[in-house]
């Protein structure tokens, strides 16, 4: 079946550094991906998305890169802040109806 996986379950960075969170997917037909941030006790919060006709998309302090050749995407957070500490999930929207397949999540810890 389809799967989405993350390379590292935890990531610890120094405040002000850049963070890179990676994700791999298995379905070569996937055409829409979303990154979510989940803080403790809250639901997944939309950060940024990317369609398969793009290889890069930028938001405010965040960039998503998509490499369809190796079925890999990454989330880059510039100048990481303590408020960025959370679990980050990539999700693959597989079907027209939009069912999301989530990865396992990477817990980002930001050291002051």
């Amino acid at each position: 079946g389809e799967s989405v996986g993350l390379h590292l379950p935890t990531l610890s960075v120094q405040e002000g550094d850049n963070s890179i969170i990676n994700c791999a997917y298995s379905n070569s037909a996937s055409d829409y991906f979303i990154w979510y941030k989940q803080e403790s006790g809250k639901g997944p919060q939309f950060i940024i998305d990317i369609r398969s006709n793009m290889d890069k998309r930028q938001g405010q302090r965040v960039t998503v890169l998509l490499n369809k050749t190796v079925k890999h995407l990454s989330l880059q957070i510039a100048a990481t802040q303590p408020g960025d500490s959370a679990v980050y999930f990539c999700a693959d929207a597989l079907s027209q109806g939009g069912k999301l397949i989530f990865g396992q999540g990477t817990e980002l810890s930001v050291k002051p």
Binding site: Y32, G43, D49, G97, G98
Partner: protein, 114 residues
Amino acid sequence: EPEVTQTPSHQVTQMGQEVILRCVPISNHLYFYWYRQILGQKVEFLVSFYNNEISEKSEIFDDQFSVERPDGSNFTLKIRSTKLEDSAMYFCASRGAYSNQPQHFGDGTRLSIL
């Protein structure tokens, strides 16, 4: 900014009892979803709902589960006879008309089965 709201935030129920989890999706959204997240694990899809019917469901969503949109604003998940393994966070999400629009999630209901 409009948001998805879920009630209650925490539900404690005896095994075998029925439970209804409630959600108010974002008002102009057309697609509605339920997901669950067992403690420490990833978010898992349960069911999607569009045009007053289920459009897709996972193998988790068995005969004990049902969904309903009883009026123009609420979207509910019912578990008929709860089991211990139903204990999890349940998230409602909604999305606009297009498949390349992101789903927006509520903050969930924590369901504890005793």
